[in-house]
Amino acid sequence: MSVLMPMDKLPGLNKATILLVGTEDALLQQLADAMLQEDCASELQVHLAKSLPLPSNGSRPRIDLIVFVINLHSKYSFQNVEECLCHVDSRFFLGKLCFLASGAGRESHCSVHQSMVVKLAHTYRSPLLFCDLEVESFRASMAQRLVRMLQICAGHVPGVSALNLLSLLRSSESPSLEEL
């Protein structure tokens, strides 16, 4: 079973690579375009994948941040992410991985309940972000946020590491989540 490793390669100079994983290519593509439009001191690379494991490719750079995109309107996208999680090395869960749930705005179209993604994120101790990727303004601000997170995870922000960021994000969660 091939597993994605966070530290199996040397980092590229000033390079930051993000991997977006999700079933709906259109959503991933739009988010990727929004991220690449951001002004960023680091050299960005965005990889899009439908699922893991990734096809073997020696020239792929080190992945600094994985974002699992779940469309709340599609049970299929949720199941896909659940299945992909076993192909990720546990060290990614130390701040180099997060979940992104899209589509919460249209409640009537949601077939995945919000509590399911909350539980998933809690199980894997990783941050959960909500963003309606279909709305351009929300997508743009999420893209900005992800670029900043990526820079931290790639080690380009002095004094802040991925683990720091993780504990910062976690402390802002409501205590009731710990009871899940």
């Binding site: 999700g22 079933t23 259109a26 690379q45 899009l48 994948a49 439908k50 299929y76």
Partner: protein, 339 residues
């Protein structure tokens, strides 16, 4: 002209939208071109209708003339009606009968008139050899209701007819009988196929939907076509699953073909199956009788929507054969039972 016929004419004219009025009146061919030029088409429709009725009265328009106008109006608006499909069959040892249009028409009319004294039956030939039949139903003692007619489109020399059934359900068996007898067939039955789009139904029934258009680039290999679409791709953006994407494209194309799909609005599955569950002991699983449930998929263009499911990442390819067999099995109503 009788009052009821005049009223029927007036109401039919009022149904026609102004931008189609000239085309439909010309197709009706009741007025010569010069007379049409004298009519004021700039006035309000209600007044125009009254003017046209007056002109028709002078020319003694008959009920049949007005029925013909109704057919022409419906032909222009065929997608506003819901069409069912009927299939007829002959006795295996019957000789192939040569089709006689006049004989068909008179036999059809006679069968209906023998059963119900009051029916209005009108015919109009259309493109590709089709006959449009309009039937207004009455009873033994009441006059036909011109506002709830049934339309039938019959293709001679094929065993198929498409019917837009009126709300009077009791007329269906008689209609079937008349069609059967007039076309020299032994049996008639309704297919499990229904849609508003008459042309799509025709394409499905006559298996004409898989014709590739001449200028379509079906000879270019799949990869080239996909790469051609990604003209301005940012080199910082990398797709990891190109092999998977190509597989999905290939399967979708194998299943649905290169051509535009016929247009259907829904597919309905009636399930009568026993409950199947992974959990061993559950109340539903122990139930002896089958569960009855109805699943209906609706869409403005169902088959195109199904075709786009796998490429959009909403479903896995290949799709269930229950969904993909719709055009080839010529049905969009299914009954599923345990084997």
């Amino acid at each position: 002209m009788e009052e009821t016929v005049a009223e029927f004419l007036r109401r039919t004219i009022l149904k026609i939208p102004m931008y189609e009025m000239m085309t439909i009146l010309k197709a009706w061919d009741f007025f010569p071109e010069e007379q049409l030029q004298t009519v004021n088409f700039q006035q309000r429709k209600e007044q125009l209708a009254l003017d046209l009725v007056l002109l028709c009265e002078k020319k003694s328009a008959s009920l049949n003339d007005v029925a013909l106008l109704d057919i022409i109006y419906t032909q222009a608006r065929r997608n506003h009606k819901v069409w069912d499909v009927f299939q007829m069959s002959e006795e295996p040892d019957d000789d192939v009968n040569l089709f006689d249009m006049e004989q068909f028409k008179s036999s059809f009319k006679e069968t209906l008139q023998r059963a119900l004294r009051n029916v209005t039956v009108s015919f109009r030939n259309a493109e590709e050899n089709a006959i449009w039949i309009r039937v207004a139903w009455g009873t033994q003692c009441s006059k036909p209701n011109q506002y709830k007619p049934t339309y039938v489109v019959y293709y001679p020399q094929t065993p198929y007819a498409f019917a837009s059934l009126s709300t009077l359900k009791s007329t269906v068996p008689l209609l079937g009988q008349a069609l059967k007898m007039a076309s020299n067939h032994h049996q008639i039955m309704k297919m499990d196929l229904r849609s508003r789009h008459l042309d799509s139904l025709k394409a499905i029934v006559f298996k004409q939907y898989n014709q590739v258009f001449e200028n379509h680039n079906s000879t270019k290999p799949l990869q080239e076509r996909n790469l051609g679409q990604n003209r301005n791709v940012d080199p910082r953006l990398i797709h990891e699953n190109t092999v998977e994407k190509e597989r999905i494209q290939r399967i979708t194309e194998e299943t649905f073909g290169d051509y535009p799909q016929p247009q259907l609005e829904f597919a309905q599955y009636k399930l009568e199956t026993k409950f199947k569950s992974d959990i061993n002991r559950s109340i539903l699983a122990e139930r002896e009788e089958p569960l009855r449930c109805l699943v209906k998929f609706s869409s403005p263009h169902l088959l195109e929507a199904l075709k786009s499911l796998a490429p959009a990442g909403i479903a896995d390819a290949p799709l269930s054969p229950l969904l993909t067999c719709i055009p080839s099995k010529r049905k969009n109503y299914f009954k599923i039972r345990d084997k």
